[in-house]
Symmetry: C2
Subunit: 274 residues, 2 copies
Amino acid sequence: MRTLVFGDASLIVRGEVRVVTSLQPEDRRPGKPSLPGGLAQLGYVQAAIDSARMGEIDAICTAPVSKEQITRAGVRFMGHTEVLAEAFGVEVMMLMDGPRLRVALATNHVSIAALPSALSRPKLVGQLALLSASLRPVVGRKPRIAVCGLNPHAGEGGFLGREELDVIGPAIADARAAGVDCKGPFAADGLFAQVGRMPFDAVLAMFHDQGLVAAKALDFARTVNVTLGLPLPRTSPDHGVAYDIAGKGKADPLPMIEALLKAASLCRGASKKR
Amino acid sequence: MRTLVFGDASLIVRGEVRVVTSLQPEDRRPGKPSLPGGLAQLGYVQAAIDSARMGEIDAICTAPVSKEQITRAGVRFMGHTEVLAEAFGVEVMMLMDGPRLRVALATNHVSIAALPSALSRPKLVGQLALLSASLRPVVGRKPRIAVCGLNPHAGEGGFLGREELDVIGPAIADARAAGVDCKGPFAADGLFAQVGRMPFDAVLAMFHDQGLVAAKALDFARTVNVTLGLPLPRTSPDHGVAYDIAGKGKADPLPMIEALLKAASLCRGASKKR
């Protein structure tokens, strides 16, 4: 396992550094965001994408970037995940992978009002297949997946919403027919109450807060954001740049360490598969 | 503190028993639900309501009942909470009160599609006032309340939904003007990531899974279901009847014990207030 760091010429790190920028000292002061610094952050991501395209790397672990600085520099930037999905022309899915819980999101940045129409049977089937295939090398066998309902009590037989009967249930049946080991839809609160003793390797949550509230309440620091669906695994800590404590020695490195270790374990899994 | 148990003549318990039924032995076999048994369960709740009306009791702690058996006996029964709210002619709110997190629900059994229209500014203001007044005797000062947004990232400035700008934010401002110490709307996942170190005494979640996933994932057994808004506190464990393990000595009594202790602490708080 080798690490390759895409960054500035001023970087002093163990491992190989691929120099992407040579920022002026005033543009790389800790906790003092600058526009050249913001653009440089985006440059590192793009350099990693180029490197991935050339087959030089087996996984990407991204550090936080400042969406605000990149946007202020005049570049339309939604986030790493969107940049990566666009670069590789694929649909991606977020998996929060923690020591006690793995939870993937069927929808992510979607308003509550738009949720019912954002779920579709074929999309869910594809997501279940992707989750199953992605976790198989990690789990070492066919992963067992629990699927949440959309509504309280998973709709309670149609009484609290019909998406479970009309969309989610049929998608689970389709995915099972295609060989995915998935069950549900389960009431989310009852399912997450069983964390640590649930007979599943991962949960597919229907929306942002349903899945992320559980993942973050249980173990924020050790839960890694994994992007599934790219040609190579991508991980990331789930925190931001924290400019307010930059350079002060106060930041907790654990989330970044966990993200790097997760990237390593995912590409080990992928090479075993080959 | 005295305990009064509403139940069957066959009960052998410490504390005073108010005999409501004298069931035949075949109708009170553990794990063998019967229609007379189901109706008896409802009778105990109604006897407790009558007792509360006569001022005999300061709090109610309900044990699980079988919605299925009561319904099969021909009685329309949605749950204890609904029976109590109707008996006292009040709007109630569910609070999940655990050792690490207190979370109340602005909406409960509402489908996701109906959520946006179920939230209203005056209703939220009333709920914030109720939560504040209910917790004041327990907390010993004005409670600090965090309010969740409805949408991912609390709507991200209108980009992921407008309910935060149009309804929740204004309701928070109104409640603050009325003397409630509340802040928000916060992104739910970020807020619940801070459990154990958040500077708030309680959270008002906008919907069922947003609040209950956090409460149950963190500490299911020790989290008590508290009904706010009734003339007297009511608590309940959040599990069901578990007929499959009834009489086998396998049930964990902790949730019921926590619910009884919570009822006691809430009526102590209430008497201090008087």
